[in-house]
């Protein structure tokens, strides 16, 4: 999937699979291995790998 940034990715996920982008927005995201707990402004490269995952808590 081609997307310029995190928000563009959510929009495109929603367009292809309605509701998926909204669900993903509730999660943390890993972009090229780096985890962002509260993403919004992150940019993506053409070959970026993106994973959505629950926010990690700790003790």
């Amino acid at each position: 999937m081609q997307a310029s940034d995190y928000r563009d990715l959510l929009r495109k996920l929603n367009a292809q699979h309605p509701g998926l982008g909204d669900a993903a927005a509730e999660l943390a995201v890993a972009i090229d291995g780096l985890i962002y707990q509260e993403p919004l402004l992150e940019t993506l490269n053409a070959d970026s790998e993106v994973a959505f995952l629950p926010r990690i808590e700790g003790g």
Partner: protein, 753 residues
Amino acid sequence: MAEARDLKYVGTRPVRPDGVDKVTGRALYGADQTLPNMIYGQVLRSPHAHARIKAIDLAPALAIAGVFAAVSGADFPAVADGEIGGEGGGNVADVARNVMARDKVVYHGQAVAAVAAKSNAIARAALQAIVVEYEPLPPVLSLTAALAEDAPLLDEQCFTKGLSETPSTPSNVASVVNLARGDVDAAFAEADHIVEREYEVAMAHQGYIEPHACTATVNEAGEATVWCCTQAPFEFRSQTAKITGMRVGDVKVVSSEIGGGFGGKTVVYLEPVAVLLSRKAGRPVKMAMSREDVFRATGPTSGTRVKLKLAATGSGRITAVDAQLWYEAGGYAGAPVGPGCMSMLAPYQIENFRLRGHDVLVNKPKVAAYRAPGAPQSVHAMESAVDELALKLDMDPIDLRLANVAEEGTQAPYGPKFGPIGMRACLEAAKAHPNYTRALPEGAGRGVSAAFWFNVGGESSAEVHVNEDGTVTVVEGNPDIGGSRASMCLMTAETLGIPYENIKALISDTQTGGYTMVTGGSRTTFATGLAVIRACEDIIAQCKARAAATWELDEDQVDWVDGEAVPAAGVNADVQPLSLADIAKNASRTGGPLLGRASLNASGAGPSFAVCLSDVRVDPETGHTEVLSFTGIQDAGKAIHPDYVEGQIQGGAVQGIGWALNEEYIYGDDGVLQNAGFLDYRIPVASDLPMIDATIVEVPNPTHPYGVRGVGETGIVGPLAAIANAVSRSVGQRMTDLPLSPPRLLAAIDGDT
């Protein structure tokens, strides 16, 4: 980016700045705050594990001389569902009910009312006068009971989340999580070896030595100040505001020194109650829990069951894992089963897995975060299965783990690909460790476990004030639990290039410092450390600008080297270097005081891996386990203050050993905790254990200037399985359920199980 370089202060072991105050008793803890006209609050707790509250009459208590105020759930505003904020807090409406029950109690000891009086004795007497009408309900005290088809329901509105379709009937399963990859069934069909077991770990408490305590005062303008022992002053401010219906800006939280937290002091219990009592009484209110209160109504962490099936080739390649996990949430949803699933396979490259986790309501206290929440229990199951596979294959257990080890580039089970990680380095250090290479003592068993925890970053703020003589004050918002004052001073010394002795670190309250997330998630040295480093870099930039102005040079013609401004290479200027003290002394003439600031949301926390080794010997006549040696080997990324890192490894080991061998919540059929004290809830003491050997591995985290990963949590993840594997090898049979207390072991040895 972390890179190899000579470090002058980072990695040294100076004396801790808070040590003298703590050993002389000068340090102030949660219950030490005293104010004029202060009165004392006590909590009435439910005598039932499960009951509806039909009515509460506070009037008889209020009629007692010396009683100033009383509250019950009806005095608190309605709180809508939503995230509480902080670590493991869950739903704010549930936390509000946990602070003070409304229409129902869901565990024995839950708060149902509170009074404030001029003495604790009067307050306790007043509690006895409160009339509560209950409708007792049958308690649900185990996973088996909670999952039974006809189980009494803790919450009639609990419709399991996480299923493809919302069920039409409620149950005690609050949510289900799934984590899957590859073709598990095909991998099992082709497997040479299969290990299949069911493992249980008992509910256990964080066991911090300092009970929860706070003092609150509300002024005539309705503004509250709360002094308390907390890991999370800013989250406590938010939680207290939400639960009492106040604005965040009208609540000020001042954290005391803290006698342990381990995740258990990340969510409020007393603070909103003290605020309401103070508002009603017009006086400051102090509240402090007893040890019994702490056991009955705070923490603990989940008791768990994991059913696990592992497939492997004849050469020891693990090809698939199929597992179901059930975690006790206590009376309200929020067991850490998600991170349990996400962490249990992280040390390995496994192409096929199918994990299904369940968050299960039971009539026990609402669980709170505990060091690497959820991971010790799931990793115990996986690492026990790996040990059993090693025995089946007659293979060295470290070699088996090396044959499956996760490396840089491995796709983690929870999604992203790992960057540089230290799992292999820890395994290799373990294999070469003298505690592993030496002969096994007679009659002993040797256990191995790998371990993992994510670590987190998050929001932090810091200020660096340069005083007029060049000494420095660092202001940060994380209560110092694991040595963060010293770590912040060391990173400041390294970044500014000034002596460690010239720096002091202060912990702000929620009004005098910038927002900083919890001291938890192994985040403080990483994320707040990053804020401190950035604030120091702000100071350096200002110093270079002031030196340039002094020397009539451009800013880019000045460098900062070893704590001094100097002309940059190639700049021809006949000037003497200006130290931080020189610039501070003249600051009033060059722009005013030097104040560096940074606030950030740190991403890129470095995952942490570890290996635990232990030799144990089990007495066949008593079932007592003697721990002969224990070794924790952990990747710290970079140890800023190695003493503290070793202390974290040792502390995690001791807590994990206690959980493995003795610690458990024991309930009667009536839902009353039978061992709510340290005499009966047996945590290890120094005489129970050998010196814990700690080895620091350093595979730098590339996202931190000095390579820091978190270190506070990973150390508790491995000991459960390391001990269980050592005991299993010692007694010659697989021990699957923790704790491995003498009665349980004796029954197994005698063949009674």
